[in-house]
């Protein structure tokens, strides 16, 4: 009976999303620009929520509360700094500039923008290749999350492979049909839904346990150090490293970066920018406080289990718990569908078109984009069957991997003397460094408490600037296009 209610809610939600996708499909032109960017016409609320929902994946719902449960609520601060402040600043510094450039030169991807400026097909391919390298495991992570959540929710009736497979199939269908417009619309629905259900969940649990003071006393009795700011886990270095690398990494994540190109006008970007910190704090506080308070609330969380579903199952009615889990699934899907779309655009525009078939018609590129979505999703699903590693490790690696791109790109955007050799060396060096820190023992993963991700960012910056100073720009570089004649109206 319970399982039926839960599955009913999830299936109902999926059908609603599909209906929205079909409406979007009817409005879509059959061009790649429309499929990827809704022809750059997105308004404030939709841009705000699509970025929000895209950014906050399974991480916010599962991994985040788990961290707060294990280590205390400081996670709110880390996420607040990375997403609410650092990302918002980058929203202007990188995003607004990219938006202006995209409008002027019709760029759809980051690689395209850099390849054009530095007159380098290889640089374009490199940026796309590096991005896909990190994007792939991250999409896999979302599928692992969805599969595990469905399995836990139905107490094993729907096994992992079936759950993750169904979600993947649905996402493929959805992305191929709806494109960016449909994704942005459902994101708006999902983002609002996430916000509302998380607050109701918090209020509900607090009402049962007797308010925040009671919840905090219970937590204090169980783990007193959790309420004091800082701990052996939350060190200054760790909090800053994490917030900075993930904040910069987010801005380079293909599905987020591509949204910089999609805004309908300058006003849309401005409003979203100002509302951003509020939106972040509104979601992070209830979600992570629930996780932190759960520690004092006498619920047993078994190894590998997520905190949020367990506490909801304990304190709220079945239908409500299912609703929140559906919200979490929605969060995962809204991240994954955007990632599939962006991944496919990086592949077709920056790898396939420049290196394999240069005279691609618009119609054919549109078709190829959709085929790319199917291939990407299927491959990451198969990979997820083979190796479901933990959410946090994978997610953290991908964000830091993307963070390595941010500083070379920012140098190129704001410093005229950047050369092709400089940015290429900066990207290669920082990627090589970070990958080595992950997979070899030669490069350490921490430096006096600071993470390899942060150190790698510094290395990328130094190499980009240093090599640019030592080399002269190639004759065909378009050195002024990021600077001259950039205005909004």
């Amino acid at each position: 009976m319970t399982v039926a209610i839960q599955l009913g809610i999830i299936v109902g939600y999926l059908l609603l999303a599909l209906a929205i996708g079909l409406v979007a499909y009817r409005l879509t032109d059959r061009t790649a620009e429309d499929f990827y960017l809704a022809s750059r016409t997105v308004g404030t609320i939709v841009l705000l929520f699509t970025t929000f929902a895209t950014l906050l994946s399974a991480f916010t719902f599962f991994a985040g509360p788990n961290v707060a449960y294990e280590q205390g609520p400081e996670w709110v601060l880390v996420m607040g700094l990375m997403d609410g402040i650092i990302f918002a600043i980058l929203w202007y510094v990188i995003g607004y500039k990219q938006w202006l450039l995209g409008r002027q030169y019709d760029y759809v991807t980051l690689g395209e923008m850099l390849g054009d400026r530095f007159a380098s097909r290889r640089l374009r391919g490199l940026v796309a290749g590096v991005s896909l390298l990190w994007l792939f495991p991250y999409v896999m992570l979302q599928q692992v999350g969805a599969g595990t959540a469905l399995q836990a929710l139905t107490e094993g009736t729907v096994p992992y492979a079936v759950g993750a497979g169904l979600i993947t199939a649905f996402m493929i269908l959805y992305v191929v049909v709806a494109g960016f417009r449909g994704i942005a619309w459902t994101d708006t629905l999902q983002g609002a839904f996430m916000l509302v259900t998380t607050w109701i969940a918090l209020v509900w649990v607090l009402a049962v346990v007797g308010g925040p003071s009671a919840a905090s006393s219970a937590l204090e009795a169980e783990a007193a150090h959790h309420l004091a700011l800082g701990s052996d886990f939350y060190t200054v270095q760790w909090m800053l490293s994490t917030a900075i690398t993930i904040g910069f990494g987010v801005a380079m994540f293909p599905q987020v970066n591509q949204r910089f190109f999609a805004a309908g006008s300058k006003t849309v970007l401005k409003r979203s920018f100002a509302l951003w910190p509020l939106l972040c704090v509104l979601l992070f506080v209830p979600s992570f406080l629930l996780g932190a308070w759960a520690r004092g609330l006498d619920v047993t969380i078994s190894e590998g289990e997520n905190v949020l579903p367990v506490i909801l199952a304990e304190f709220t009615p079945v239908w409500f718990a299912a609703l929140v889990i559906a919200g979490a699934m929605a969060a995962m899907m809204s991240s994954s569908d955007s990632m599939l779309l962006s991944g496919s655009s990086y592949f077709t525009r920056d790898l396939y078109r420049p290196f394999v078939e240069s005279d691609l018609s618009e119609r054919r590129e549109d078709l190829l984009a959709r085929i790319g979505v199917v291939g990407f999703a299927t491959a990451s699903f198969l990979a997820s069957l083979w190796n479901p590693a933990t959410l946090f490790e994978l997610g953290d690696a991908a964000f830091s991997g993307f963070a390595q791109l941010a500083l070379p790109v920012m140098v190129a955007l704001y410093w005229r003397k950047t050369t092709r050799a400089g940015i290429t060396a900066g990207i290669l060096a920082s990627q090589a460094f970070y990958l080595s820190s992950l997979f070899t023992a030669v490069v350490p993963s921490a430096y006096a408490g600071w993470t390899a991700g942060l150190v790698g960012m510094g290395l990328g910056l130094v190499v980009t600037v240093g090599v640019s100073l030592l080399t002269t720009p190639a004759a065909d570089e378009r050195r002024t296009i990021y600077f001259d004649g950039l205005e909004a109206d």
Binding site: L77, S216, V236, C280, V281
Partner: protein, 89 residues
């Protein structure tokens, strides 16, 4: 565009980032209405950040980015009036 405004805003950005986490409350476990004081600071700070961003967007948007000098650099209100017309172009 005005250089002092640019450097001023860079300082604001760094200042906003620096105090999002209230380092001066390190180790503090004071509770206010059942919620740690440092969390209240954070919530208030995010509200302040939103306000500061709004102000920037209204008056200084384009600073450091748009190449046309006078459209954005500090003349109150001029930046926002240009496209007050609405969402879509």
């Amino acid at each position: 565009m005005s250089r002092p405004a640019l450097w001023g805003w860079i300082a604001v950005a760094i200042g906003l980032s620096a105090l999002t986490i209230p380092w001066f409350l390190w180790g503090d476990a004071t509770l206010v209405a059942g919620v740690p004081l440092w969390l209240w600071w954070h919530v208030g700070w995010m509200g302040l950040a939103s306000l500061v961003f709004w102000l920037f967007a209204r008056r200084f948007w384009g600073l450091g980015i748009e190449s046309d000098g006078d459209s954005s650099g500090g003349s109150p209100g001029s930046g926002s009036r240009v496209d007050a017309g609405g969402e879509r172009r």
